[in-house]
């Protein structure tokens, strides 16, 4: 069974204090790993897709990396507006060559204090 585990569940940072969020996964065949940001009362907002180990993607203060077992979302010098829940999700290949739909982790609730 596909499993996605995110840690920590919650993280409080001071503005400017860099840190990383973790997403560990156990799947039979990874097609892609997705990172989303979700603000309260809103749907998830797409951040990144990573497809293979060693891949890295950056957007403003965020950088996502991928290994064969986990992904990290690094937040450099965060600001209060980065406060949100960050979700990772995996998409798995199946034997027919197609892909299952996304399996989400439980998320990390990030709070950045001014």
């Amino acid at each position: 069974e596909d499993q996605v585990t995110q840690s920590p569940e919650a993280l409080r940072l001071q503005e400017g204090e860099s840190s990383s969020l973790n997403c560990s996964y156990t799947v039979s065949g990874l097609r892609g790993l997705f990172w989303y940001r979700q603000d309260p009362g809103k749907g998830p907002e797409f951040l990144f897709t990573l497809y293979s180990a060693g891949e890295e993607k950056e957007k403003e203060r965020l950088k996502a990396t991928l290994t064969k077992k986990e992904s990290f979302l690094h937040i450099t010098a965060p600001k209060p507006e980065d406060s949100a829940t960050y979700l990772c999700a995996v998409q798995v290949l199946i034997s027919s060559g197609s892909a299952r739909q996304l399996t989400f982790g439980s998320g990390t609730q990030l709070t950045v204090l001014p």
Binding site: K42, G43, P44, E45, F46, T49, Q101, L102, F104, G107
Partner: protein
């Protein structure tokens, strides 16, 4: 990427009644997805809706409880039937993004059953 409009944004319903949620996309898409996000939980896929065919439901979700319509390539509805307080959740529709963007989500429908 596609823009999704979801209605209603929130509702409070009496137990035993039904609520139909609408999802309108600004472009034609083959597949639309319906998710549930229970309080404090991550997203769980309910079903995949293809135009012109029956929706495909995930384990634990049945058509009698969550009937789905997909009359054309830009619109879908999800009905939550015979509601109980356990159905209180955020319901989200999603489509596959374009231009390298991952799956796009609507803003969600926050349902409270009393």
């Amino acid at each position: 990427s596609a823009v999704i409009s979801q209605k209603p944004s929130r509702d409070i319903c009496q137990r035993g009644t039904s609520l139909t949620i609408q999802c309108q996309v600004d472009s034609q898409v083959t597949m639309m997805f319906w998710y549930r996000q229970q309080p404090g939980q991550s997203l769980t896929l309910i079903a995949t809706a293809n135009q012109g065919s029956e929706a495909t439901y995930e384990s634990g979700f049945v058509i009698d409880k969550f009937p789905i319509s997909r009359p054309n390539l830009t619109f879908s509805t999800l009905t939550v039937s015979n509601m109980s307080p356990e159905d209180s959740s955020i319901y989200l529709c999603s489509v596959v993004g374009t231009g390298g963007v991952g799956y796009t989500f609507g803003s969600g429908t926050r349902l409270t059953v009393v």
